[in-house]
């Protein structure tokens, strides 16, 4: 049975109908037309779908709708708002840190959360923050460089 849920997504209040067990990822992609979070594994093991729920980074593929009622969700599309880029998005472009790019949206969500708590992370801190993400194209080195660089940009 579908239920009605109301939550904040990237700062906007939304009401959606979904079965309680339907994943947040499915609702973001199919009902809210936010395609940034991607399906990679469906079991919390790859990071492609990561979003922030009340500030915590979680796999949206493994987050049922019943658990996000009245919560605040931020996806890659909401990291900076409007058509602007978050400094870490810009840093990824500056370092050309991507190949296929499928992993990047989730990586960016984790990286932005890291920068919120640790605005000047060193390489070690970045690697730790991203260790739940997989990147099959082998762009890890560039991504780490970019996130460190984002921390060094003047705020």
């Amino acid at each position: 049975m579908k239920q009605r849920y109301s939550l904040s997504v990237n700062g906007a209040q939304v009401d959606v109908e979904a079965e309680p067990e339907t994943s947040l990822l499915t609702v973001l992609r199919n009902d809210l037309d936010l395609k940034g979070a991607r399906f990679g594994c469906g079991s919390g093991l790859c990071g492609a779908c990561f979003v922030q729920v009340d500030g915590a980074v979680v796999p949206s593929c493994d987050t049922p709708m019943w658990s996000v009622d009245h919560k605040s969700v931020v996806t890659v599309e909401g990291l900076a708002g409007d058509d602007r880029l978050h400094p870490v998005q810009q840093a990824l472009l500056d370092e050309q840190a991507g190949q296929c790019g499928y992993c990047l949206a989730g990586v960016l969500v984790s990286a932005a959360a890291l920068l919120d708590t640790n605005p000047r992370p060193d390489e070690q801190a970045v690697v730790e923050a991203l260790d739940r993400h997989l990147c099959r194209c082998g762009v890890q080195g560039r991504i780490v460089r970019a996130v460190v660089r984002a921390g060094q940009e003047p705020i």
């Binding site: 790859c46 599309e77 790019g101 890890q140």
Partner: protein, 713 residues
């Protein structure tokens, strides 16, 4: 030494252009000044469209921002075969350049005709067309309506010289990256066509399974339609979550007839050598017995390796009212896919259109074609509605074709001066291609599950002219007087294998370059010096020396750290790549640093080349230290990221890439060059670190322990 060929007297069209000579199939100029370029090559995450756009911008004398690269399409774009084998810039580049030069010439001609001036003196800068003979200027945009591009390319139109190119050779940023960083819809998974439904397939539990019965009543209360054809079972519905749930419910309400069809994973060596085989004689000199020389022999192997792309395969199909079929796929070969679909369903190929849509990183023949065909079968049940099929992670890891397991014996002799005198090499493998159309088979997975199932012959190998498969890079680049090199391709196989980045070159380079180190040790020489002593190829020498220099070769390493080198020229005629690895091998193998030098001839985009090499080397590191497809005699068991672990951020090596410049020589692809050299360098570094040679991949803690134990026997 120069590889530059002398121009033939009569100019001829590059291969893919000769097959598709009409300009408008490649380029269209719009009245807003945008130039659409449609090539037959597809974006796989490797940045090919950016590189080709750079070439086009230079020939047209427009800014890169004016060029728009369109997705490949079987109906309206050129057929350039597969996007594979690191051949895209080499294949498509000359065609794109000549087409763009022709287009520029036509626009210049039109301007000259209007102004009554000399075409030779007309200039084009950033798309503005001018002449010293008139104060007027015009542009591509203004002339777009008057120039007819529906004519054949003229091979005699000159293209830009190296000095005239402005965009080519620069690190232009990737055209597709802004969308991906912003999280915009870009992938096939993101497409939502009007009226689109979601499809899911319930794959058999094992490769040899047949569906006996299914109880569909258990999904009766869900809003899905069940589609069955033999052992092919799937659902279609408007709600993706319901479709996924329906498949899970059906999984528990099906009865399958399963059999043990898989080889013994713990003894792939026996499986690969048992045959029957097709022998592939590569070099047939008789090495004879070099009486007074010292000999050495060794066996190396690798397991089956999965593509393990970050996204599950996805396909979309729509059966239109008039019997026409439209398909969207992230296939590497949309024309081959179209023909295969037509073959299975007995359709006219012309009634099927396949358009490319981007998927996640593609490193060979993955599940893209299969997912497209799944969509075709499910969409047949709902004519007029597009159906998008997305695989599960488990299906992606267990049903996409694998890179074949391989095993090789090397047997060589050296004389008293430490020079190689003979080399015998045998390599056993399944074939490295089962792409749509291989050996006349459609090659589509679901076709083997239909009521009237297709059975396919064993995977084959690309012909020697395309680099071979089992024997790709089986010939050492080093000077050796007597050689016998033979491949043995299994002609009866029970696991589906196909093209995975570098094909057999990964294993062959690992074996050759490991063995070169073993021989160097035998004769008491430094591994680099031993290689150089047997290497005449100047470009190769430069690349080896550049990597060694950058890595500090010869300097001491800290305790517990080993250093090793690996080198090859991909396919014997492609890019040169040398890798120096630094590893720690105390408990398990940690690759700290890879220092790489490459020579890819003329570089279209230096940062793009670096990115490809870094990515290839990182992926090869993952193959080397972690990866192995697991199965029992019935099922593939490595079907999630815990059972098929790949390299983590914390395990990724630091990588430095040096491009050895060779701008006067043809461009060589970079995508596959690093695979073999990286694995070999890591294996050699492990031997350097622990004093024991590990000859069987992956180089896990268990493999290291096993090597130590067998050494002690």
């Amino acid at each position: 030494m120069s590889l530059a060929s002398t121009p033939p007297d009569i100019p001829t069209l590059p291969k893919s252009l000769a097959a598709n000579p009409i300009l408008s199939r490649w380029v269209n100029v719009h009245s807003d000044g945008v130039v659409d370029v449609r090539v037959g090559k597809v974006e796989l995450g490797q940045g090919i469209l950016t590189a080709l756009a750079q070439l086009a911008a230079d020939e047209l004398d427009v800014d890169l921002a004016q060029v728009r690269m369109l997705p490949a399409n079987t109906a309206s774009g050129p057929d350039e075969g597969l996007t594979s084998g690191s051949m895209s810039v080499a294949d498509s580049g000359p065609a794109v350049r000549l087409v763009a030069a022709n287009v520029r010439a036509l626009f210049v001609g039109e301007a000259a005709r209007r102004w009554q001036v000399d075409a030779e003196r007309v200039t084009v800068v950033s798309g503005r067309i001018a002449s010293p003979q008139t104060p007027d200027t015009t542009s591509y945009a203004e002339l777009a309506e008057s120039v007819d591009l529906g004519i054949a390319a003229d091979a005699g139109v000159p293209v830009k010289t190296l000095e005239q190119q402005r965009v080519t050779g620069t690190s232009a940023p990737r055209l597709d990256l802004p969308d991906k960083v912003a999280g915009r819809a870009r992938f096939i998974h993101d497409l939502r066509l009007p009226g689109q439904l979601f499809g899911r397939v319930l794959r058999p539990p094992s490769p040899g399974a047949r569906l006996v019965a299914v109880d569909v009543s258990r999904v009766a209360d869900l809003d899905v339609q069940v589609v069955r054809d033999g052992s092919f079972l799937g659902v279609v519905g408007a709600d993706e979550a319901q479709a996924t749930r329906a498949v899970e419910i059906l999984r528990g309400s099906t009865t399958w007839d399963e059999r043990d069809t898989l080889p013994d994973e713990s003894d792939l060596d026996t499986y690969l050598r048992a045959g029957p085989h097709e022998p592939i004689p590569v070099i047939e000199d008789d090495p004879g017995t070099q009486q007074h020389d010292r000999g050495l022999r060794a066996t190396y192997s690798r397991p089956f390796i999965a593509h393990a792309s970050m996204a599950p395969s996805c396909g979309i199909a729509l059966w239109q009212g008039d019997g026409r079929l439209a398909v969207w796929s992230h296939s590497q070969g949309i024309h081959g896919l179209r023909n295969a679909i037509a073959q299975v369903l007995d359709l006219e190929p012309e009634s099927v259109t396949v358009e490319h849509a981007e998927g996640a990183g593609c490193y060979g023949h993955n599940g893209a074609d299969d997912a497209a065909f799944d969509a075709v079968l499910l969409a047949r049940a709902v004519p007029g509605r597009p159906v998008q099929v997305q695989w599960s992670r488990a299906d992606e890891l267990s049903w996409s074709p694998f890179g074949s397991a391989m095993t090789a014996d090397v047997n060589a002799t050296v004389d008293e001066q430490g020079r190689l005198t003979s080399w015998a090499y045998d390599v056993w493998s399944q074939g490295h291609t089962a792409r749509p159309g291989y050996a006349g088979n459609p090659g589509l997975l679901a076709a083997t599950h239909l009521e009237a199932p297709w059975t396919y012959s064993a995977p084959t190998d690309p012909p020697a002219a395309r680099g071979g498969g089992t024997t790709r890079n089986a010939v050492p680049i080093y000077g050796i007087p007597h050689r016998r090199i033979t491949g043995h391709r299994l002609t009866e196989t029970s696991i589906r294998s196909s093209a995975l980045r570098a094909l057999g070159a990964h294993m062959n380079v690992f074996a050759i370059e490991s063995f070169m180190d073993e021989l160097a040790q035998l004769v008491g020489q430094d591994p680099l010096a031993f290689r150089l002593a047997h290497l005449d190829d100047e470009r190769g020498r430069r690349v080896l020396q550049a990597a060694a220099r950058a890595a500090g070769w010869g300097q001491d390493t800290p305790d517990g750290v080993g250093r090793g080198i690996g080198f090859a020229r991909y396919k014997g005629r492609g890019a040169y790549c040398a890798v120096v690895a630094e590893v720690e091998a105390e408990h398990d193998v940690r690759v700290r640093r890879l220092t790489i030098a490459v020579d890819v001839g003329r570089v279209v985009n230096p940062d793009g080349v670096r990115n490809q090499i870094e990515g290839g080397a990182t992926q090869a590191t993952s193959w080397t230290v972690k990866e192995r497809v697991r199965f029992d005699r019935r099922r593939v068991t490595s079907d999630d990221w815990e059972r098929y672990p790949i390299l983590l951020f914390s395990e990724a090596p630091q990588i430095d890439v040096e491009i050895v410049p060779n701008p006067g020589l043809p461009s060589l692809g970079a995508g596959e060059a690093a695979q073999g050299p990286t694995t070999a360098a890591i294996a050699n570094a492990v031997a350097d670190a622990i004093g024991i040679r590990v000859r069987h991949l992956p180089l896990t803690a268990d493999a290291v322990v096993a090597a130590i134990e067998s050494e002690q026997l």
